[in-house]
């Protein structure tokens, strides 16, 4: 891919980030009635409300608020929590390892389970193996992930005390301890994405298997595993990659609920607490964090595309 193309994609990503930042800024403005009053809650004194108003800059004209806010955000200052007065960046950095561990393990589970199942199902579309795998995938798409987490906790942590039911342990306490804490919520989180990936992998692989170039590879004597490794994987991964990119966004949302079930203080829990308390700086930080992750992931997906698909690669040149 030519650098012009890359710059174009980058500009698109920055535009989305800008739009999200405007929406995040407008959140406070859109609150019906007086935002400071609402944040302070009932029974608060006049001084408390005024302090919040001053902290959020609500006493200034909107344009000025926006410019000041953008300037701060660009310099990496997301403000401080209205309640604890801790800087938002500090709160997020503290919570990030939990969320990243969860999402990371979940995506690995989703890829391993989903892609394998989809590929196996695609070998004989319409066969009984395909039927079973497709049914499981369909059912997994209908299951709420927090429910799956609860069931797994009851089975593996409460009924049988094999794994810890709640809490998080950092990697510094050992990989096994870390994994033991993370595996249940990550599996619950990854299951939905695995179902989605299995469906699309099956579709993509079945499509590739029916292509003329697979027939000519067979005509060259390629069979079985060779065929899959040299022709199917690369071609089928092009559509699957798009879905994988979307799943990262899904996981980011799913993590909110699953963290609550697993009693982990990740970014999701941070967001839920902030929302129930109307802690706008934290909420804005969370929304921006999600947007940044998603824009980065879609850029990586775009790059991976051009690496896998030579047509896209030379289209830019």
């Amino acid at each position: 891919m030519k650098s012009a193309e890359l710059l174009h994609r980058l500009a698109g990503g920055i535009f989305v980030l800008w739009l999200v930042s405007v929406l995040a800024f407008l959140m406070v403005q859109l609150v019906p009635g007086d935002a400071a009053d609402m944040i302070a809650g009932e029974g608060s004194t006049e001084e408390q409300v005024a302090a919040i108003r001053a902290q959020l800059g609500l006493d200034q004209p909107v344009i000025q608020q926006y410019l000041a806010w953008t300037g701060r955000v660009l310099s990496g200052d997301l403000g401080s929590s209205v309640f604890s007065q801790t800087p938002v960046t500090e709160l997020m950095l503290e919570a990030a390892p939990v969320t990243l561990s969860l999402a990371g393990v979940a995506i690995v589970i989703a890829i391993v389970l989903g892609v394998t199942a989809g590929a196996v199902a695609a070998r004989k579309p319409g066969g009984w193996v395909d039927g079973i795998i497709s049914s499981i995938a369909t059912v997994s798409l209908a299951m709420p992930n927090f429910w799956v987490a609860m069931i797994l906790v009851s089975l593996l942590a409460i009924a049988n005390p094999w794994l810890p039911a709640t809490g998080f342990a950092g990697l510094e306490e050992g990989v096994d301890v870390w994994l033991a804490h993370i595996i249940i919520p990550a599996a619950a989180l990854g299951l939905h994405s695995a179902g989605e990936l299995a469906r699309h992998t099956r579709g993509a692989a079945a499509d590739v298997f029916a292509r003329p170039y697979v027939r000519s590879a067979r005509a060259r004597g390629a069979t079985g595993w060779w065929l899959v490794r040299h022709h199917v994987v690369r071609n089928a991964s092009i559509p699957v990659l798009t879905i994988l990119g979307l799943q990262v966004g899904r996981l980011l949302a799913g993590v909110i609920v699953v963290e609550a079930v697993a009693g982990m203080n990740g970014i999701g829990t941070l967001a839920v607490t902030a929302i129930s308390r109307r802690d706008f700086p934290v909420i804005q930080g969370y929304v921006l964090f999600c947007a940044v992750v998603i824009v980065c992931v879609s850029l990586v997906v775009d790059l991976a595309y051009t690496w896998i698909n030579p047509k896209v690669r030379s289209a830019g040149s």
């Binding site: 170039y213 000519s216 067979r218 060259r220 004597g221 690369r234 030579p310």
Partner: protein
């Protein structure tokens, strides 16, 4: 492997029967799950002699590509071979184990297909696709196979082979893509090349170049070629023998020269009538009225009879393939019994109409 090295020289060996490289007998193909077993292809027999080129011709929907795919063991899941045999160097291609077939495909039997663009893997360098055959069959390393791929590209007339080997299919023209397909098919010294409509998707000028290349390779490497086509012009330029298929049946087998001079089946004659004299007049093809009936609604008796200008009541009876002279077979009962004498163009002597 059976080696019949002592075969007579190809030009005089008209009946390739015993020494044939490929001997297809009674091949039938069914739709899977069709209880009535209405064959898509029924009782197809023909031979391909060593170093000979045989045309498998007919309009689209006649079962010629199905026949070719069946020989390669590449039928889609919806269809299956329901009978017959196809001996290639002592191995029955129709009943061989999948691993054995895989060793033959890309080895002694190479194949090229209709649309080279979609027949090449878009994500793989063309050199690697050619090298794939050598790695699979000769166990060559990636590096050695690549060297051979460059040599093969050179052999099929692609200039600047080392650089071209690193191209992706979409960076090449249609003609070059088909040359790449040919190079990958002959990469392991194949003896039989099955070419399914190899020039149909190409421009007229490129068609001629590809045919010329095939002819050169055939002579140079001593290849036998089974050419599936619907274009009699291609057959006239390139082939020794002709196998005419209509609605799943072989209706005539003959040498090309003989069939063009004196067709032994009304369908062959009709096809010849549909070919313009000068090849440049291709745009205005006179066509045979009507169309090939879909499988399952074939008429009783001779399947061509509804479209045949010579049809009589007796054509409603089942017709068998008859060898009228050595190497010449017809499925037309009236031709077989000398009731009908066909000529490529113009006057045709119809005994029965003369008598009535």
């Amino acid at each position: 492997m059976i080696d019949t090295a002592g075969a007579a020289s190809p030009r005089t060996d008209r009946d390739a029967g015993d020494s044939a490289l490929l001997d297809v007998r009674g091949l039938s193909i069914d739709l899977v799950g069709d209880e009535q077993q209405r064959g898509l292809v029924e009782d197809v027999s023909f031979q391909v002699g060593r170093r000979r080129s045989v045309a498998l011709i007919g309009e689209s929907g006649c079962g010629k590509s199905l026949t070719a795919f069946a020989l390669l063991g590449l039928l889609s899941r919806a269809t299956r071979v329901s009978g017959g045999s196809a001996l290639f160097e002592g191995v029955d291609l129709l009943t061989a184990a999948p691993q054995q077939l895989a060793r033959i495909r890309g080895g002694p039997i190479g194949a090229i297909f209709q649309d080279p663009m979609t027949s090449l893997d878009p994500t793989m360098k063309v050199g690697d696709q050619i090298a794939e055959s050598r790695r699979l069959h000769l166990g060559e390393s990636r590096k050695t196979a690549r060297k051979h791929a460059e040599r093969l590209l050179d052999q099929v007339g692609i200039a600047n082979a080392p650089e071209r080997a690193r191209s992706y299919p979409h960076e090449l023209s249609g003609g070059m893509q088909q040359r790449v397909m040919i190079a990958s098919a002959i990469a392991c010294d194949c003896k039989l090349l099955i070419a399914d409509e190899p020039t149909t998707a190409l421009d007229v000028t490129i068609q001629a170049q590809i045919l010329e290349l095939l002819a050169d390779l055939q002579r140079g490497l001593g290849l036998a070629v089974l050419l599936v086509t619907h274009d009699l012009g291609v057959v006239a330029d390139f082939c020794d023998d002709i196998v005419v298929m209509y609605a799943g049946h072989v209706v005539e087998r003959n040498s090309v020269d003989e069939a063009f001079a004196r067709p032994r089946h009304p369908y062959t004659k009709a096809l010849l009538g549909a070919v313009p004299e000068g090849r440049e007049a291709r745009a205005k093809l006179p066509t045979i009225p009507g169309r090939v009936p879909p499988a399952g609604s074939f008429p009783e008796g001779c399947r061509f009879q509804p479209r045949c200008e010579f049809a009589v009541a007796a054509c409603g009876e089942p017709q068998r393939e008859v060898e009228i002279e050595p190497g010449r077979h017809t499925r037309c009962g009236r031709v077989a019994h000398d009731l009908l004498q066909l000529e490529a163009r113009g006057g045709t002597h119809d005994e029965s109409s003369a008598r009535t």
